[in-house]
Assembly symmetry: D2
Homo-oligomer: 167 residues x 4
């Protein structure tokens, strides 16, 4: 039986995670992945705290960036981060279990745009991250083709957004 | 019969638009408005073109900023823009009819976060704008109370986002 | 006598300004220009005010964007804006005379980064803008070559920054 | 003999660094500090690499964020990060020795704006970070007063920028 696109995406994300030393050392775990999307989890450890005894902003960014990287590489096209903006809405503290959920917002030939929401175990938003991706040469899994974007999905998203804004 | 929240929001947005000289001079029209949301429209005129004969980035930003301002003032709490980030994805040209749709993403006591999508008449995304709002003293319509945020809406949004990311 | 690089840059900026309908309609004037840099001025008119009777954020952005556009096109390589971030630090009001000063921060083959400071007639900072430029095909003045970047200037800037940070 | 402001700032930064578990675990070292400014250094280790064998974006952000935190807390007013934007200009690789230099750009009563430049051992710019700070209650060293901003420094910076842009 043929492998679905979602299964392929999970396989690609796992292959990338396998090589990602930084995500491993932060204790990041993959919760779910699909084409263009990924959700990861991390528990705040003592060595992630800053001088104010809250989670260092860099660790929150790193968690969001890992979710972003898995989402934008999930099509098997090697992709790196070009820029990101992050808003810190609430502090995270020791032993908080944070989830970062990345969704593909826009994907063009030279630029992708992904939104990542970081929430804590109470469902409160800790940080909002918007990252820009840039494709580079190569694939994550060599013998697998690149999963190209279906044309319609962006327009559907558009339409659903318009509806939600005019309700 | 009591006025609904959505009707109140539209009344507030119209009152603000009435005083907004810049939005008038750009020919901006309100398409729809609800609590925390707004959709506006603008046709690209000759005097909005830059030296490359495409729409000046400032006019695209201004359109998004107007949608943002109507959305974040729609609760009757006077609110101004503190910062914004904009990504220009596609040029707009003479006679394009653009829509800017603003949705409330996060609303706290000191900071609000709104996402605005600017699309053209073919439904293509022209620009993505994320703005931060800051409340100031006063209301838009004096004899109307401020429409406070219902607690649950943010968490519902959260939940629906998680679902969409793990599909 | 040969034309200096600075004189050429001013000639290119003026040629671009000549075609820029939006900058004209906002009453923007070029104060100075050099390779990679530009300073422009604008007086806040009634039709630039928003519903709070302060200058519309879009007009402030547009002023900064014009300075940015003149700075990044001043090398005669046609260049457009890809993204920008703006922080609004202080409101501007009717008849304020604002200056936007753009400086080239980084220039690579695919991306340029420019910082624009908007100040009022009292020298107070009204807004800070950081824009990313993207080169496109073509030149501003056809019979003039592109003014390429001298390698050393970036490193000098670097060095002077380090000094100022360690004072 | 009275302690200079610069010496006080260094003492405050060291006190904050002493409590900062995350900066310690990343091997960050303070190179220099002054009122509103700081320069830190970090060597890229194997556990900082991502799945593409370059430095994880989160580690680059964390380095910049530490420089930012030391700069904005150097006045002894406890201060946290509210938002940041980062542009990644060049990859960093294993054993690169990176420096992050933070300078105070704007400081108001509710918001500060800091620019951080991350460079490698060859003086090349790896990343540009612009962070917004937000003061919270408390001080870093209890028995030391807060070092308030001298009014003139911002205007001097302004003036020097204008000069450099009009050269």
């Amino acid at each position: 039986m043929a492998e679905t696109r979602a299964t392929q995406a999970m396989r690609i994300v796992k292959a990338l995670m396998h090589r990602d030393r930084a995500s491993h050392s932060m204790g990041i775990k993959i919760i779910s992945a699909a084409v263009g999307n990924c959700c990861v989890e991390m528990r705040i450890r003592e060595d992630m705290l800053n001088g104010h005894t809250t989670c260092h902003g860099g660790m929150l960014f790193a968690l969001a960036d890992s979710a972003f990287a898995f989402a934008c590489n999930s099509r098997n096209q090697r992709t790196v981060i070009a820029a990101a903006h992050i808003d810190f809405l609430r502090p995270a503290v020791l032993n908080d279990v944070l989830r970062a959920t990345a969704i593909e917002h826009t994907l063009g030939s030279r630029l992708g745009l992904y939104d990542v929401t970081v929430t804590n175990q109470r469902g409160e938003t800790v940080a909002l991250f918007r990252g820009k991706s840039c494709p580079i040469d190569g694939t994550i899994i060599e013998d697998l083709p690149v999963i190209h974007k279906a044309r319609s999905s962006a327009k559907k998203l558009q339409a659903s957004k318009k509806r939600s804004a005019t309700r």
